[in-house]
Amino acid sequence: MQELVNRAKELLANGTVQRVLGWKAGDMAYNPEPSYFESEADLSEFVYDAFCGANLSKYMIEASKKEGKTLVFLKPCDSYSFNQLLKEHRVDRDKAYIIGVGCKGKLDIEKIKKEGIKGIESISGIGMEDACDTLKIGTLYGDKECSYQDVMLERCHVCKGKDHVVFDETLLESRDTVDSERFHEVEKIEKMSPEEKFQFFQKELSKCIRCNACRNVCPACSCRKCVFDSTKFDSAQKANVDPFQEKMFHIIRAFHVAGRCTDCGECSRVCPQGIRLHLFNRKFIKDINEFYGDYTAGEDINQEAPLTHFEFSDREPNEERG
């Protein structure tokens, strides 16, 4: 981590960048927050560890409007989001100095708590220099341990890979974290009967409180004004008054990011109700791959996006799968 701080200090000092966008240590072991650092002194609070899951690429939309360059730290998966934003002209490549940082898999505090660990005072084993196999957790109710792999964010189990797709330089090594099949969950649902599918999603979505965290954290949902906030479709909603509205919101949100979603997993990470929102986006990704050939949003900014492109021989909408 110190390497990151040192490099940031250098780049600030030599005037390459005006500010640094990274993570600031929180008041708990697990809640660092995205933050700007304007000076060397500020950087004393810089942190980069297993809880820095937040994807900083979306902050670059605002940073692109600021004077001078911003140094931003992007994890491999974050770099896809940045690239996608670049493709959509939402960020300015010239305003960004990108350090691609390695990643050993980010942790999900909710999963730690699900293991029955509460009153957390300290967590060790979360640094980039650590082995990432066991976490030692000091709590008000005694010392606990849990496996690093078990409490990783869902997205890290199906990681896109260790390579950054856009960067000026890279620092720190990444680790292989994949231990699941990316579309396994989606396939499981696809195999259910219509009734089972309906019940599954009805239950899952009934938790939605329409806090919009999924939308607002999403780098693809970067509209200045969302259709669900505007009068454009007579579709403004502030609450899910009826189960239909839960579906409407999540279907349309997924549709709007279809072909643009990099599967960064932020939606699922931030949902206060633990709704597995990636199940929507990943369904579209799976369909797109299956129907129109493999496509990874954000991978190549020159590639035609699946929904703004077509082939004469595309499948018909009524066609049965298979």
Binding site: M192, K247, I252, F284, F291, N318
Partner: protein, 146 residues
């Protein structure tokens, strides 16, 4: 077909592109090829004008089935519109299926201006299909049900 008591009469919205399918519907009309009155047509310039929001909106407000008709691939008045529509609807329908919404409540059919027969046949089939599926209870806003 006279209205009989208690018979389920579905609400069906048909989006038809101005150039082919709307004209196809006109031809069905002038050829007196009947199809159930449950089908109501909304004219759009092109199948690519149909936003998934419109389709969900129809279901929200109580539609039991939604069908989108456009020019045959390759015949789009705007050259490419129906190709985009095709991809969009393919994905949308797949998502609806994934959410457990009965297959067959949504459909896309390419109907040319010359295919009055096909238009009427398609609508007859679609209405039958929706009747067999029954009332749409999975994708509507309950507030609109009374």
């Amino acid at each position: 077909m006279p209205l009989t008591e208690n018979e389920f009469r579905p609400k069906i919205v048909a989006f038809c592109c101005n150039w082919c399918s709307y004209a196809g519907a006109d031809l069905a009309g002038s050829s007196r090829l009947s199809y159930p009155a449950d089908v109501k047509i909304i004219k759009v310039p092109c199948s690519c004008r149909v936003n998934p929001m419109f389709i969900l909106r129809a279901f929200e407000k109580g539609a039991d089935g939604v069908i989108l008709c456009g020019c045959h691939p390759g015949d789009c008045h705007y050259s490419t519109g129906n190709y985009y529509a095709r991809r969009r609807m393919t994905l949308l329908f797949s998502m609806l299926d994934y959410l457990g919404i009965e297959k067959g409540r949504t459909r896309v059919e390419w109907v040319s201006a010359a295919e009055g027969v096909k238009f009427s046949q398609t609508m007859n089939e679609f209405v039958e299909k929706i009747k067999s599926l029954g009332e749409n209870v999975r994708l509507g806003d309950l507030r609109c049900k009374n």
